[in-house]
Amino acid sequence: MSGKDMISVFPSRMALTLMRGRLRGAQKGHSLLKKKSDALTIKFRGILKKIIETKTMMGDVMREAAFTMAEAKFAMGDFNNLVLQNTDKAQLKVKTKRDNVAGVNLPVFEAFHDGSDAYEYTGLARGGQQIDRIKKNFAKAVTLLIDLASLQSSFVILDEVIKVTNRRVNAIEHVIIPRIERTLSYIISELDEREREEFFRMKKLQGKKALARAAAERNRNTSEEQYGPAASLLDRERDEDLLFD
């Protein structure tokens, strides 16, 4: 057993049962983790598809918004500075929520409006309609950006988690389970050998006992031949040793 990795344990029936229990546990853990990894991978691929879609839409929306900006500049002159100076609080804010997917916490960003439109009267005398359109287009662009942000952060987190889970699955499959199996087979082989040894010992003992009995028999038989049959007190009428009869 040298060179192969194995849990060092004293081979006994108790250890065998314990090892069997551990093997079962490892196998259950392996199948559960595999299921988790599969669920995460499916979600991952879904997110990837959505990211690609959102990014292409983003390109179009940004282009549209930039063009509306040019139109508004044509109708109204340079309003950029005025708008920049007038900014105070953000009107579009982002809330984070946590979404749970197969045990992984993914952040989800949600946009919400805070406060009324501070630029209601911009362009009142010129270009009001273009300003309106610009507001709508850029608002669309910002909401898309927020969606893209949640998608991308979930993408990165999922990627990490999937890597970790797969590593664990592989570790169980290629390291833990073979180790336990090797230990199990070692224990089993040790136990078998011990049984064989025991059996052999029994056999040997029996052989020895048989020999000992045979030797004892022979000893009894040899003494009878030498000394005749053993005298018995009970089978004579007269005893010579008695003086008075």
């Binding site: 500049k73 900014t87 010129r126």
Partner: protein, 348 residues
Amino acid sequence: MNSLNFNIDNGYLEGLVRGFKGGILKQTDYLNLIQCETLEDLKLHLQSTDYGNFLANEASPLQVSVIDDKLKEKLVIEFQHMRNQSVTPLATFLDYITYSYMIDNIVLLITGTLHQRAISELIPKCHPLGSFEQMEALHIASTPAELYNAVLVDTPLASYFIDCISEQDLDELNIEIIRNALYKAYLEDFYKFCQTLGDSTGAYMSDALAFEADRRAFIITINSFGTELPKDDRAKLYPRCGKLFPDGLAALARADDYEQVRAVAEYYSEYRVLFEESSNNPGEKTLEDKFFEYEVMLMKKAFLDQFHFGIFYAYVKLKEQESRNIIWIAECVAQRHRAKIDSYIPIF
């Protein structure tokens, strides 16, 4: 002032302006420009016009904002030369032209100061034609009321503030309302001034300023649908020097939607045509586009007559329109969005 004595004081400048007018881009120039694929091509084409090498010293990847700044700079240089050579009454007339830029600058500065931006950041963003000496002093004020008492009373625009806005209004009213109220006072003042000049100037400028007033009235009405602007506040923003005063303005003040505005325009032949030919569908000219076209046509008429100041006003307006056209074409080229590239307003 009459034709006999006009050239003594103003002959040089009239000749100069007519020369500048000859340099305004023609339709062929615009056709060349819309064929450009990159901004470098645009620069090349502009070199063969009156603009010459105005973009020659700019850094290599040319940007639309740079072109915009340079165009403005050129107009400012020309205008300031004319202003420096002029005497009253032409000098006052040219000052009146700058007041509209001054109003924009003041609005920008007030907004910035209210939000605690440093004055040194705001000054470069102001339009150069509208600068006035007290601009640097604005940082001492932190509320609009202080601003008014300390600074604005000394500017030529002080009277406009008095006419329409009181001190507490400055604090409460939305900045755009202030801007439009100021502009209304400015237009009416300019109109009165032109009437005192009499003759061709008075005649021409009355037409021009009446159109401007009516256009603002229409657009303010249309843009205020859907906002929370109450009708009487809206009525206070209509300049009274146009053809719509008083009946048209009263009707506009009562209007609730686009159709009613159109009905008001029906009474005035020039405006009826504009409303008929415009619509809000994409692909057709919008109402604002039609107003721009009408303005260009009015401005061109100025050059048909001699010995009046209208040509200076017309020149500034036409140059502005030209800048807008060039920037529009430049943006379409830069963003490669050629669908609406010929939505510029051709001038000559």
